[in-house]
């Protein structure tokens, strides 16, 4: 019986909720380095799931496998019931509109204004909103949601780190995704801006009823936003449970995260 079976107590009643992400036995190696060694994960509808792991433990690799940016060596990834390995490019692009991805460094397009950054995902997927959609309204609404309506004509270089993260979040939301993947949402930000981003994530989750997968090594962030947590150690889902359950664990490897 592994550690995750010991700790997981199913404190959230997932069984009645729809399964949004289902990862089974995911493996990925780079040469002789085995990053993921049979990682398993389930994310349910409306759930905030935090994955914690040390730097280089494979968190970002796992999240990139989820959206098809990387190909796993083996294993199975189902997003809203669809096995991404069996999808063609058009189907994958269509599925990606249901998944928002907030990158660690915001990844705003340098050569475009904030408005153009937000309009970019709409170019191919306007049909999601019907034929008579006004893109400028959608952009304005997305920016208002993150409190940055006044930055619409600014270039990314004119924004602070926190503002960039919020604009990136607005861009992530513009296609109304059902799942949002956050890759280190608070890294590189000061504590006050981190709190603002965490608060924004919670508000967005309530407003849009999204399911969120949050990768972080920020314990404060994990405590505030997580309903359930998974600890990624040695390429596997070493421990699962609520923040309180994991924080109370006597396992050395688990305790190391909460020191």
């Amino acid at each position: 019986m592994n550690q995750s079976q010991h700790i997981e107590k199913q404190s959230v009643k997932q069984t009645s909720r729809k399964l949004m992400l289902d990862i089974k036995d995911l493996r990925k190696s780079f040469g002789d380095t085995h990053v993921l060694n049979g990682f398993n994960l389930e994310l349910y509808e409306g759930e905030n799931l935090v994955i914690m792991g040390k730097s280089g433990s494979g968190k970002s690799v796992m999240i990139k496998c989820l959206v098809g940016l990387m190909q796993p060596d083996s294993g199975n990834i189902k997003v809203m019931g669809k096995d991404i390995a069996t999808l063609n490019q058009i189907e994958l692009d269509e599925l990606r509109t249901e998944i928002g991805f907030l990158f660690q460094g915001s990844a705003l397009y340098d050569s475009m204004t904030v408005r153009e950054n937000l309009e970019f995902p709409l170019r191919r997927h306007k049909h999601k909103f019907g034929t008579n959609i006004d893109t400028s309204e959608l952009v304005a609404e997305a920016l208002e949601n993150v409190g940055l309506a006044h930055t619409i004509d600014l270039m990314p270089e004119e924004l602070s780190g926190g503002m960039k993260r919020r604009v990136a979040l607005a861009r992530t939301l513009i296609l109304r995704p059902k799942i949002i993947l956050y890759d280190e949402p608070t890294s590189g930000l000061d504590p006050i801006t981190s709190k603002e981003i965490i608060e924004l994530m919670r508000r967005i989750q309530k407003q849009y009823k999204t399911s969120s997968l949050i990768i972080t090594h920020d314990v404060d962030c994990a405590r505030v936003v997580s309903e359930r947590m998974v600890l990624l150690v040695d390429g596997i889902d070493y421990a699962k449970g609520t923040f309180a359950e994991l924080a109370a664990s006597s396992d050395k490897k688990v305790k190391a995260f909460f020191k």
């Binding site: 990139k64 991805f101 990158f103 050569s111 970019f120």
Partner: protein, 256 residues
């Protein structure tokens, strides 16, 4: 790194570039076509290089005429200056030097731009938003360089000939009409057509190498510098190889 590893890496890179080029030809004929972005890139690339190409062309014309004149004067053959300068500029010097200048400006720019987009995950962001980044970033830039370089070379050649005329006008009594009559009388389709065709290949090589280096950039910000640098070196080397092949083929068909 041992020399055997360097050779292995070189051939691996050639293989990857071939694969990248094959993907370009596959993507260029499939929908959706990024017409708006292509036009934007054509404007950017053409506009960015126009002044540089004009100045380069003008200086080429001045220098060639100044350097050649004393020798022609020795033989009393100054009247041959327009035909000599025009043939050398149109056939070889214009296309090659302007393409090298263009490579320095554009290949490094594309390499650095795509490289920085790669390391800051902008390319990944584009892909997860459902846009094919290869089509949007690579296909448009390669097409733009392929289409713009021939235009720039034509403009650069014309300015080079004008530069040559200015020297001739200042040294002797030659009118604009007489000078350019001599130029056009000495030029044939065999001079113009192969020289123009090869500039399409030059433009393609500069675009594809710049994009390849940037798109496959690694090692963070250091890699961006390396991508920009190696894009210029590799594309310049490729220009000379293409030029040799073009001259060789032209010799067979036009007997230059």
């Amino acid at each position: 790194m041992s020399s055997s590893e360097k050779i292995k890496n070189f051939f691996t890179e050639i293989g990857e570039l071939t694969y990248f080029t094959r993907r370009f030809f596959k993507e260029v004929i499939t929908r959706p076509f990024e017409i708006k972005e292509l036009l934007r890139q054509c404007y950017n690339i053409g506009n960015k290089s126009l002044l540089l190409v004009s100045v380069t062309g003008f200086i080429i014309g001045l220098v060639i005429t100044l350097q050649t004149r004393p020798t022609l004067e020795e033989f009393g053959a100054e009247s041959w200056m327009p035909s000599m300068v025009s043939i050398s500029i149109i056939r070889e010097i214009g296309p090659v030097i302007i393409a090298l200048t263009f490579a320095g400006r554009i290949a490094s720019g594309i390499g650095a731009e795509l490289g920085s987009m790669k390391v800051t995950e902008q390319i990944d962001a584009m892909e997860v938003s459902g846009t094919n980044p290869f089509k949007y970033l690579v296909v448009t830039r390669v097409l733009a360089t392929t289409l713009m370089l021939p235009l720039l070379v034509i403009i650069g050649d014309a300015i080079a000939l004008y530069g040559s005329f200015i020297i001739e006008y200042s040294k002797g009594e030659v009118s604009f009409v007489l000078y350019f009559n001599k130029v056009f009388n000495s030029l044939e389709f065999g001079d113009l057509i192969p020289a123009t065709i090869k500039t399409f290949f030059f433009g393609f090589a500069i675009g594809i190498v710049g994009c390849f280096k940037g798109y496959n950039c690694k090692k963070g910000t250091v890699g961006v510098g390396l991508a920009a640098n190696s894009a210029v070196v590799f594309s310049s080397m490729l220009l000379f190889i293409i030029d040799f092949i073009a001259v060789f083929i032209t010799d067979i068909f036009f007997e230059i």
